[in-house]
Symmetry: C2
Subunit: 539 residues, 2 copies
């Protein structure tokens, strides 16, 4: 595959190869055909080359025409010349930092040493406009850098941090994995759909039969048909996915969107064995995977009956401040061992694009996350981001870098994650305790298996409803939802999450969350919910 010149702009782009798995073994005839397609090898003195230029393209037919057509942003590429010593740039229209009206930014943050208390042991963290210039050798990020234009992959400072974190937690089992910062997983998922899906090609997407409503709403206007895969308490069923992919008929979907941990809306968490099963089916049918994991670090110990309001059932963490010695990291290592391995960590083929998010574990308003995938996928993602987001907010990046890298360090952040998980585990215990009291025997997923997330998926046995024969599930769902609002509790209707909204509902479901309400409010809310259900059933 010879490099081709891009529109006379002096930049060289290679044809894009996605992922790792060659679709067919190479033959002698294949080499001849490939050389013929690539044309004469144009390689004057000291030309750059590497083996990737001459290897088989990977997932060759998966990239959308839109994504394949993207060329590098010429203005951002020109930044490569800035390395030349003494060069004066009259190139990019980057405003002068002298005209930035923010001289210094400070924040007050909790510390691992203080057990992440919101009042004790708070630390003051500061970033100035010219820290790098004024304090050579100390700070590596300041406002003059963070608040100017950047590269769309994100700042090197925060990219280093997420890359190290990803290697520490997932250690992807192939060499050329890369990360790129995102504006949150809503944005990176939309980009992924557009990179791998095309309306005219009739592309489709596999997902859990009940799936994250925004992910469904993102796919629909792009003309991508969604296929729901049957689930059990551990989430999607590999055998059912295999059946669906083995059936003939319409163009089969080539992409899976899945939330393996604490799935939204059902709260199901795939075990390691389940994940291996899902991955194997994707290998068999050459399906690419979008792994969306906002709740990955909120994997809790199973709920113990009667534990309401306590934090029993969660691993106790030992806060002991910042990066510590090898022995002092035992709590962090124990925490990491409680996590079911990610699909990324099982991904020998480079067929996973993992979407990580700070929204549930730091703050949603940062609008920062990151994706991890093979170099070729990340390269296409960055081309997309250059014409869409230009990367995340510099304010967000500055705050996260100072907090996660300089203040907490990796160990401190993992301790924070364990702390947040424990906070939410206490909330989970509270809502499940309320369910024991007000909704005896009515919920769907076995409480012992609930490893948590932020949602409780409630199943109501509609077959006992006095109007089960005459009213549709949708009508019953609406009646109960409206009655809930009347009684003063907002929940989410199961139908909002149905992957295939033109198919009849498989049951009467409601999603509740324990993310935000207080323990007392949750008890009131669940009681009201029970009243609404009983009212509809005439009990």
């Amino acid at each position: 595959m010879s490099p081709t010149n891009v529109g006379g702009i002096g930049l060289v782009a290679e044809e894009v190869h996605i992922g790792k798995q060659a679709p067919e073994p190479l033959t002698l005839e294949g080499i001849r055909a490939r050389r013929a397609k690539a044309g004469k090898l144009d390689a004057p003195t000291a030309s750059y080359s590497d083996s990737d230029m001459f290897k088989a393209p990977q997932f060759p037919d998966l990239l959308s025409p839109e994504s394949a057509a993207r060329k590098p942003c010429v203005l951002k590429q020109a930044a490569k010349h800035l390395k030349k010593p003494g060069l004066v740039s009259l190139g990019g229209g980057l405003p002068s930092a002298e005209n930035f009206p923010i001289e210094r930014l400070s924040m007050q943050v909790p510390s691992p040493a203080g057990g992440f208390s919101h009042t004790d042991n708070l630390k003051e963290v500061t970033i100035g406009k010219h820290d790098v210039r004024d304090h050579q050798g100390e700070g590596v990020l300041d406002l003059s850098i963070a608040l100017n234009y950047g590269q769309s992959i994100g700042s090197a400072q925060l990219l280093r941090w997420v890359t190290e974190h990803t290697e520490l937690v997932h250690d992807p089992p192939y060499a050329d994995w890369r990360c790129a910062l995102t504006i949150g997983s809503t944005g990176s998922l939309e980009a992924a759909y557009r990179m791998f899906g095309d309306r005219q090609r009739g592309d489709g997407i596999l997902t859990e039969e009940y799936s994250f409503s925004t992910a469904l709403e993102t796919a629909a206007p792009l003309g991508l048909r969604v296929f729901g895969v049957a689930m059990d308490e551990q989430g999607l069923l590999p055998d059912k996915m295999d059946e669906l992919l083995s059936a003939g008929g319409a163009r089969r979907p080539r992409v899976l969107y899945t939330v393996p941990s604490g799935q939204n809306p059902t709260g199901a968490t795939q075990s390691e064995q389940r994940r291996r099963g899902v991955y194997a089916v994707c290998q068999k049918h050459d399906v690419f995977i979008f792994e969306d994991e906002p709740y990955y670090f909120l994997q809790m110990q199973p709920y113990q009956k009667g534990a309401s309001g306590s934090t029993t059932g969660t691993t106790t963490t030992k806060p002991n401040g910042g990066e510590s010695t090898t022995n002092g990291d035992a709590d962090v290592e124990a925490f990491l061992r409680t996590l079911v391995p990610s699909l990324l960590s099982l991904d020998t083929d480079g067929r996973v694009m993992r979407h990580d998010s700070f929204s549930k574990v730091v703050v949603p308003g940062a609008r920062v996350g990151w994706v991890t995938a093979s170099e070729q996928v990340i390269e296409r993602y960055i081309r997309h981001a250059e014409c869409c987001s230009q990367g995340p907010s510099g304010f967000s990046q500055a705050v996260l870098y100072k907090l996660l890298d300089e203040e907490w360090g990796h160990a401190g952040y993992l301790r924070w994650l364990a702390h947040v998980r424990d906070e939410y585990a206490a909330r989970r215990d509270a809502i499940l305790g309320a369910c024991e009291k007000y909704l005896p025997g009515r919920w769907f997923l076995g409480r012992r298996r609930r490893r948590g997330c932020l949602y409780l998926w409630l199943k109501v046995d509609h077959t006992r409803h006095p109007h089960a024969a005459s009213k549709s599930l949708l009508a019953l769902e609406e009646e109960i939802f409206d009655s809930c609002i009347d009684k003063g509790v907002l929940s989410c209707r199961g139908s909002w999450f149905a992957a295939e909204y033109d198919r009849p509902l498989s049951g009467l479901f409601f999603r509740t969350t324990y993310a935000a309400a207080s323990e007392a409010q949750m008890a009131v809310a669940i009681e009201r919910f029970g009243d609404a259900v009983r009212g509809s059933f005439g009990i």
Copy 2:
């Protein structure tokens, strides 16, 4: 047009009407046809209705199938129930602010009273996690709000500010204009392309013959053909646009992308008369306008020869702190009068979607801007943003709100804009002074007419080149660009901005910017540029 129920989710969406201009006068037969299409009027007791439901759709064929298919985000819509007193929400999975690891954010900012000095009279501005709860009646935004999920239109706090600013500066001449915050104009332009352009329909876009490279790079992968309109020193020529639109042949473009003030890359600013001419041609051919205005407030007084390094030729501003009395606003009112009216301010039809940005006048790293257009366009934009960005960073919104609304106020911000314009005017004077010295008689746009932006567009008379007959313009351009790099100056090649890159170049151009380099560096850089040109010409 009767309201239609969206997929059983209990929400009602209307068919979308874009803009204001009815394509055809209504006839009696038209009413019958419209009623037949809408079906039976389903209006039980106390049904909601308004006249818009029964009026003609506007720009009916312009919206892309993707945009037309968007439905409201069901989870964000459910927030409407939160108004009910006493309601407990187990709905949206909004994390608890108790788990946000940032208790307080402070920033040091320059003040109008201090003449916006970076060292004197700096003000400390602080936003806490629970300011609204803890200081009832004072703050209206705190970190518990700003850093959680929000609506994709942006926070009400900052939306109020940009709406007031837009009314103050542009006062759109129709009633139902709306604003929405964006993640910057790169993102909002991409959304606009996808809202109004469709690959399968063969849609195209009009723009200046030399146009912003990223805007071109955004359109190309979407399959939207770009048509370049000839320009003069005031930017695009209405007559040439009329000719292009009047010609038969392929499907004519229905959208114009233009940068009326300080156009990138040429620096051309359309006069009021020119803008009226452009608008009239758009009316004649029913073309929708994307008005991209990052440099709007950098409109400078014409350059005076020999003024290098001074700020003569700019309006002197009188800093006098915050919102002041009516008499004290005279300087601000004078500043506003120096601005050529925007296309938005001339838009009687609702055919303009204006893209504003904080990037050049506050900081690019905020990744915040806003769009202004008719209610129907903004509604579609928000539907798009819900599945893409979810609105800008909460950190950015918090900082901008505190700075622009609470600290500076509208008058203070306008004084800041005048101050930044003066800063850049001094830089412009410096680079033009260097051009007088090192590039006699070689630049394209008349120096007296230069009302500024951040770019200087240099034209080299290639007809005098010794190899003019044997070498292409592209080859000459590359030779001079490479020689510039060798000599230590980075500029941008004119071909990077060519709207139609498959058409021969109309001249030998280079874009330079005076945004970032110091006065001394600019002199060095322009001297090197001159050397590179003379070297190529063998002078």
